[in-house]
């Protein structure tokens, strides 16, 4: 058993460094349904199988077609049997169900993963047993006709199962995420500001700073005092001269920096510490202090995203059904309004800085201990909350609460509108569409074209321009679809003829390059949904392979 664990740790090492063991665990406990083993579908699934998704179920009612086998632009070929047998078994392969063929070959990529297939069209499943879809952590629908994805969307919305729609259409990639409410504790922001509390130091920090006497330190100590303490000391001086007001604008911050520079010089002169050229050397830690003045003196406050979470209805009204995210959020909110004095629990981390080991560790521990104290208070609030709704205190773990507190400034909630809302004439996002279309080459036009080809499919049971002889005559037919779409939604926008010609020429092709791009993009969004780490897009993504541009719209 340990051997298996070690070998999994080795295999997944590079990704464990991104989402941790707990993220991996979430991935391995997930069951994803993918509908349609096309090039796009198999690419998405490949990028979920490789990192170790627990189980996948491939739903596809199609047989492997000559197109799939003979057209090397389809991903499934990469998984086809070795050359010799492939040639001989051409016929056999063609008779094989696409879902089964794909499942077998995808499983080969990772023996940790279990794969199932269902040789049935999604429409049939929706007709006979829609609850089939309730068991999944996520359903990914690929290359689906509009009627199917609308039906599926409605079933999954009711069941609370996240739904990701993906399509490759010629040189265009499209994704639509539908999830009622997706909470994220670990959003892992790229450029997070530190939580140093220099503007309003907590008691333990104040005491710690006081215990340092900068003016009377030996040079060695002086130049190895953490810049946080240096800034704190000078801030005290500044407060006494500026009515306890933080330096606010550039001028004041510059004056504050000057204060530190001068303080450094005075200290040097007192100790006659100059380098051989006679000019005072700036100590590195003082240089660090000066460099960090800009960000270190930002007033500590609750970020607006977190504030919104505190004010959300789900946070306010806790019941025994409330997910732990809202329970803990409520607990943190209680803390903020009481013991926290309007501030979140202390995060507890500090950046590395020039300092001797002892001073740094001691300072780090001041923050760490405070973070632990604050988290313990939050725990008490959460406990009381659990009791009030009749749930046992073990319902949330210490670890969960600590993780939540550490990430309190980075919490995110993603709420996607339903397909019904996007499609209804009463609730569709007219403003977004109209304003984007002021620029006639915005990716929004690609969205309108996809809606139009869906309309075409509804009317003609096929997509435009699939065969060469159809291209010319379909242009006019497609144009009619575009116009009827714009009319139905009273959209006063201009869709250039170029795009209509374009989409006819695409012939609903699924070029491998676009399928591969989408395969990577969609798989990562799926992983975000499953692990609740990093932030998913909201809610429509369009990729243009020719211009290598993309856009995200909230429709």
């Amino acid at each position: 058993m340990t051997d298996n664990k070690t070998s999994k740790e080795q295999k997944y090492d590079r990704q464990l460094r991104l989402w941790g063991d707990h993220g991996q665990e979430a991935l391995e406990n997930a069951h994803v349904c993918l509908i349609n083993a096309t090039a796009t579908g198999t690419e998405i699934l490949k990028n979920l199988v490789l990192p170790g998704i627990g189980v996948f179920t491939l739903v596809d009612g199609h047989k492997v077609s000559g197109e799939d086998v003979g057209n090397n632009c389809v991903s499934i070929t990469i998984f086809s049997k070795p050359k010799v047998t492939y040639m001989l078994n051409d016929v056999v392969l063609i008779l094989q169900n696409r879902a089964q063929a794909a499942t077998e070959l995808l499983q080969e990529l990772n023996s940790d993963v279990s794969g199932n297939f269902v040789e049935e069209s999604p429409d049939k499943l929706l007709d006979n047993s829609p609850e089939f879809f309730h068991r999944f952590s996520l359903v990914i629908g690929v290359q689906l006709p509009e009627s199917t994805y609308l039906r599926l969307g409605s079933v999954l919305w009711e069941a609370g199962v996240p739904f990701l729609i993906c399509r490759t259409y010629g040189l265009i990639g499209y994704m639509r995420l539908i999830v009622k409410e997706h909470t994220v504790v670990e959003s892992h922001p790229d450029n997070a500001l530190e939580d140093l509390r220099l503007d309003q130091p907590f008691t333990e920090l104040k005491h710690h700073v006081e215990s340092h006497d900068l003016d009377n330190m030996e040079k060695k100590d002086h130049s190895h005092t953490p810049w946080i303490i240096v800034v704190a000391k000078y801030l005290e001086k500044w407060y006494s001269e500026h009515n306890s007001q933080l330096p606010k604008n550039y001028k004041e911050k510059e004056a504050f920096r000057q204060l530190i520079r001068e303080g450094n010089v005075i200290h040097h002169i007192q100790r006659i510490l100059t380098n051989e050229n006679g000019t005072p050397e700036d100590e590195e830690n003082f240089e660090e202090a000066i460099k960090n003045v800009n960000t270190a003196l930002n007033p500590t406050k609750v970020p607006s995203a977190t504030e919104d979470i505190f004010n959300a209805e789900q946070c306010e009204n806790i019941t025994s059904q409330s997910p732990s995210f809202w329970l803990i959020a409520h607990g943190v909110r209680d803390f903020v309004r009481n013991e926290g004095n309007g501030k979140l629990p202390v995060r507890g981390t500090i950046p590395d800085m020039i300092a001797d080991s002892d001073k740094f560790i001691k300072l780090q521990n001041v923050y760490r201990d405070k973070a632990m104290k604050d988290a313990a208070v939050v725990s008490k609030h959460v406990e009381a909350l659990l009791q009030s709704v009749g749930k046992p205190p073990e319902s949330t773990s210490e670890q969960e609460i600590k993780l939540f507190c550490k990430n309190a400034a980075f919490l995110r909630v993603v709420r996607c509108r339903s397909l019904a809302e996007e499609y209804s004439v009463d609730t569709f996002n007219k403003d977004e569409i109209t304003s984007c279309m002021y620029s006639t080459d915005s990716e929004m036009v690609l969205y309108l074209m996809l809606r139009s080809v869906d309309r075409f499919y509804q009317q003609h049971s096929r997509y435009p321009g699939v065969y060469n002889y159809q291209v010319e005559e379909d242009i006019n037919k497609l144009k009619l679809c575009v116009n009827s779409l714009l009319q139905e939604y009273s959209l006063n926008v201009n869709v250039k003829d170029d795009y209509i010609h374009e989409f006819c020429r695409y012939g609903a092709a699924e070029p491998h390059m676009v399928a591969a791009f989408l395969g990577g993009s969609a798989a990562q969004e799926a992983i975000k949904i499953i692990t609740h780490q990093f932030v998913p897009f909201n809610n429509t993504f369009l990729y243009n392979a020719m211009s290598q541009t993309s856009a995200t719209f909230q429709l």
């Binding site: 070998s7 080795q10 295999k11 090492d13 590079r14 990704q15 460094r17 991104l18 490949k46 990028n47 490789l50 990192p51 057209n71 632009c73 389809v74 070929t77 990469i78 070795p82 050359k83 990529l109 990772n110 023996s111 010629g170 892992h188 790229d190 590395d352 800085m353 300092a355 080991s357 560790i361 780090q364 699939v466 065969y467 060469n468 010609h501 374009e502 020429r505 695409y506 012939g507 092709a509 070029p511 390059m513 676009v514 591969a516 791009f517 990577g520 993009s521 798989a523 990562q524 969004e525 990093f534 932030v535 998913p536 897009f537 993504f541 020719m546 290598q548 541009t549 993309s550 995200t552």
Partner: protein, 435 residues
């Protein structure tokens, strides 16, 4: 070619060619000749058969390319298997290029991938000259710069005018966690790797005094063991270097790092962290590699069919928060040390020591050389001023570092030729004395 004459099998490859999207005339479809070129003649070189390389080979093979070469000097490791999908557990230890080529050749009929289990530096201009396009999936800036330099060295100028047929486009992709980039380089025409060297900031190493006497982070403890303790204690024998791929070596470093950390009350040293620091591990997932490789392969396709406007010229991708893509045009540097053909300017007083020039070559953000070798012509003879990579020559020329430029006999306007691992050709510098 009239529409009705285009065979059906091409219908799925028929992609737009309206005037808006093409540089050339509005042909109705990628006519047979373009597709035939792709299938029969076009030769693509893929550098690297790792995370990006595997994806690239698949993308190119499934898009119709038939003649592909792949170069990779590495063998397969277990930690590759989470994304380098052409490899299986049974392949661990085998050369990546060979296994990758076998896989693709066995699964895509008609495709011929030729592997080269070599360093890129082991191949010469005759090799590189045969390709129409080079696409890189490398994990090292040094290797990128070398490749960049090699393609630049193949450019032919006649009377100062660049012969376009000597240009081999370079598509370069890179990934790190959830971030990635793809760029198109037309050597001699658009910004090259060295033009934008500042985009690859030098790797930050911890200061020695921190490692030796003032550790604060678990990483400092590991670096202490790696850099100071290992050479001192030689735990696996004399002259045995620390091998990041040997679990017994890492285990030793881990234990010693724990001890070091305990001495300073530092928490957080784990086996994973230890290995990460020793091997300078960059986190990686399948998804980012899939996206960037697809973007690169799309550019290869555009350039090969020459019916589309290629990316102009640098794409950035990040899917930490939603999906973000941004394209900008990286500009050529007028005095780029690689592609400008202008001798680089060195401004130093005659009293400066040679060491100062050496420091400048390694520390300057636009040069970032690794171990430059400096030669010049004195009294009509070629003289090596300093060379690091051969121990005997290093010893002989080391005293020069402490001599002033004047003492070495260098004059204003002196041309110095500098060789370095970052470039296949020497870089010419002109010494300008300042007071």
């Amino acid at each position: 070619v009239a529409d009705s004459e285009v065979p059906d099998c091409h219908s799925k490859v028929r992609i737009t060619s309206s005037p808006r999207f093409t540089k050339r005339s509005s042909i109705k479809c990628i006519c047979c000749s373009s597709l035939q070129f792709l299938l029969d003649t076009c030769k693509i070189l893929v550098i690297g058969a790792g995370g990006l390389g595997c994806e690239l080979l698949k993308d190119l093979a499934l898009s119709g390319f038939r003649h592909i070469h792949v170069v990779d000097m590495d063998t397969i490791d277990v930690s590759n298997l989470n994304r380098q999908f052409l490899f299986r557990p049974k392949d661990v230890g085998r050369p990546k290029a060979e296994v990758a080529a076998d896989f693709v050749n066995g699964r895509v009929p008609g495709c011929n991938v030729v592997p080269h289990f070599k360093k890129i530096q082991d191949l010469d201009e005759t090799f590189y000259r045969q390709f129409h396009i080079v696409v890189c999936g490398l994990d090292s800036v040094v290797a990128r710069r070398w490749m960049n330099g090699m393609l630049l060295s193949l450019l032919i100028y006649e009377d100062g005018v660049l012969d376009p047929s000597s240009i081999i486009p370079l598509i370069d992709g890179g990934t790190e966690g959830f971030k990635g980039n793809a760029r198109v380089i037309l050597p001699g025409m658009t910004a090259c790797i060295d033009c934008t060297l500042e985009l690859y900031p030098p790797q930050i190493n911890f200061p020695m005094c921190t490692i030796a006497s003032m550790p604060r982070l678990p990483e400092h403890c590991v670096e202490y063991v790696r850099m100071l303790l290992w050479p001192k204690e030689k735990p696996f024998g004399d002259g045995v270097a620390l091998d990041g791929d040997d679990p017994t070596h890492i285990q030793w470093v881990f234990q010693k790092s724990l001890e070091r950390a305990a001495e300073f009350s530092i928490t957080g040293v784990t086996y994973r962290l230890t290995q990460g620091v020793v091997k300078r591990i960059i986190p990686a997932v399948a998804s980012t590699n899939a996206v960037i490789a697809a973007a690169c392969a799309t550019e290869v396709f555009k350039i090969a069919t020459s019916a589309y406007v290629p990316l102009n010229n640098y794409l950035v991708f990040n899917d930490v928060d939603g999906l973000y893509m941004y394209t900008f045009e990286a500009e050529r540097k007028e005095n780029c040390s690689a592609c400008s053909q202008v001798p680089q300017d060195l401004q130093f007083p005659p009293s400066a020591k040679l060491q100062e020039i050496l420091d400048y070559l390694t520390e300057n953000a636009s040069l970032q050389m690794k171990s430059p070798a400096i030669t010049t012509t004195l009294d009509g003879k070629n003289k090596t001023l300093y060379l690091q990579t051969v121990a005997s020559i290093e010893e002989r020329t080391r005293p020069n570092l402490n001599k002033t430029l004047k003492e070495l006999g260098l004059v204003h306007g002196q041309e110095l030729a500098v060789a370095d691992v970052t470039t296949p050709q020497t870089v010419l510098f002109k010494l300008n004395f300042i007071s």
